[in-house]
C-alpha cells in the first residue's frame, strides 16, 4: 500500500476536478487522459508509451474519488487490479488531499521478482513525465 497527502491552498471544490477533468488531470499526471468520471466510467491516462487503465468506482464531489489502476502491459498489475482512493478534506480555505493506493502486488522483497514488471511500468511512467 502506498499513501501520501499534501496540503493545497485551495478549497476541495477547486481541487476535485483535477481528478475528473482530463485537461486538469494532465497538468499533474500523465500527458494524455480519457476520463468518464462516473462509477464504471473509464479512467485512462497515458505516460509516454506507458498506459494506466482503470475505471472510476466512486465519484463524490467534492470530497472523494476512487478509481482502479493497472498497466495493460504488466501481468502483475492488470487494469482494475489495484485501487486508488483520494479523499479531499477541507481545512480552513485549504484542502488536505489524501491518496491511498491499495492492492498493489507484494514487492517489498527485492527478491520478489513478480514485482519487477510493475516497477518497470510505473517507473517508465515516472520517467516519461
Amino acid at each position: 500500500m502506498i499513501s501520501t497527502s499534501v496540503r493545497i491552498a485551495a478549497p476541495p471544490e477547486v481541487v476535485f476536478p483535477y481528478f475528473t477533468d482530463p485537461q486538469l488531470l494532465v497538468t499533474w499526471i500523465g500527458d494524455r487522459a480519457d476520463l468518464d468520471a462516473r462509477p464504471g466510467g473509464t479512467f485512462a491516462v497515458d505516460f509516454g508509451d506507458t498506459a494506466a487503465r482503470g475505471s472510476y468506482v466512486a465519484v463524490e464531489p467534492p470530497h472523494r474519488v476512487v478509481f482502479t489502476w493497472g498497466i495493460p502491459q504488466d501481468p502483475t498489475l492488470p487494469p482494475g487490479s489495484s485501487t486508488v482512493e483520494v479523499v479531499l478534506v477541507a481545512d480552513g480555505g485549504d484542502t488536505i488531499a489524501n491518496l491511498t493506493h491499495r492492492d498493489l502486488p507484494p514487492d517489498r522483497e527485492p527478491s520478489h521478482r513478480e514485482g519487477w514488471e510493475r516497477c518497470l511500468a510505473l517507473l517508465a511512467a515516472a520517467v516519461c513525465q
Partner: protein, 120 residues
C-alpha cells in the same frame, strides 16, 4: 593512483538506473531476462538490431547494475539482478508523492489566493 576497476558490482544510483531504463529496447531486454538467464545471441534474436547495438544496450544495463553476466564456455549469459530493484522501489514510493507535489503546484498556480486585504 590505482585505476578504478570496472564496477558493475557497486550498486548503481537511481540516476544510472533511470538512464538505463529510458530506452524501450533496454526495457524489453530486462523483460526477456526477468525469469530466464539468456545468452546474448538469443537476446539479440528478439530485436531488429545489429548484434553490436544489442551488445551496447547490454553494457549500459550491466553498468547500471541491472544485469548480471555469467560466462559459460564461450557464451555469456545474462539475467536480471534482483538487488537492483531497491533504488527502483524507492522511486516507486515517490511516484504518488511526486504527482501530488505537481498537483499542488498546478492548482495553486491556476488559483492564486488573492492577498488578504481588509474590505474596501
Amino acid at each position: 593512483m590505482t585505476p578504478e576497476p570496472e564496477e558493475p558490482e557497486a550498486p548503481a544510483g537511481p540516476d544510472a538506473v533511470l538512464r538505463a531504463l529510458a530506452d524501450p529496447h533496454r526495457r524489453e531486454i530486462l523483460r526477456l531476462v526477468q525469469h530466464a538467464e539468456l545468452p546474448a545471441g538469443q537476446i539479440a534474436a528478439h530485436f531488429d538490431l545489429t548484434q553490436q547495438a544489442v551488445s551496447q544496450h547490454l553494457t549500459v544495463l550491466k553498468r547500471a547494475g541491472l544485469l548480471a553476466e555469467r560466462r559459460e564456455g564461450t557464451r555469456r549469459l545474462y539475467s536480471l539482478r534482483s538487488e537492483s530493484l531497491q533504488p527502483l522501489r524507492t522511486l516507486l514510493d515517490e511516484f504518488w508523492p511526486d504527482a501530488f507535489a505537481r498537483l499542488k503546484q498546478s492548482v495553486e498556480q491556476a488559483h492564486p489566493r488573492t492577498e488578504e486585504r481588509g474590505p474596501t
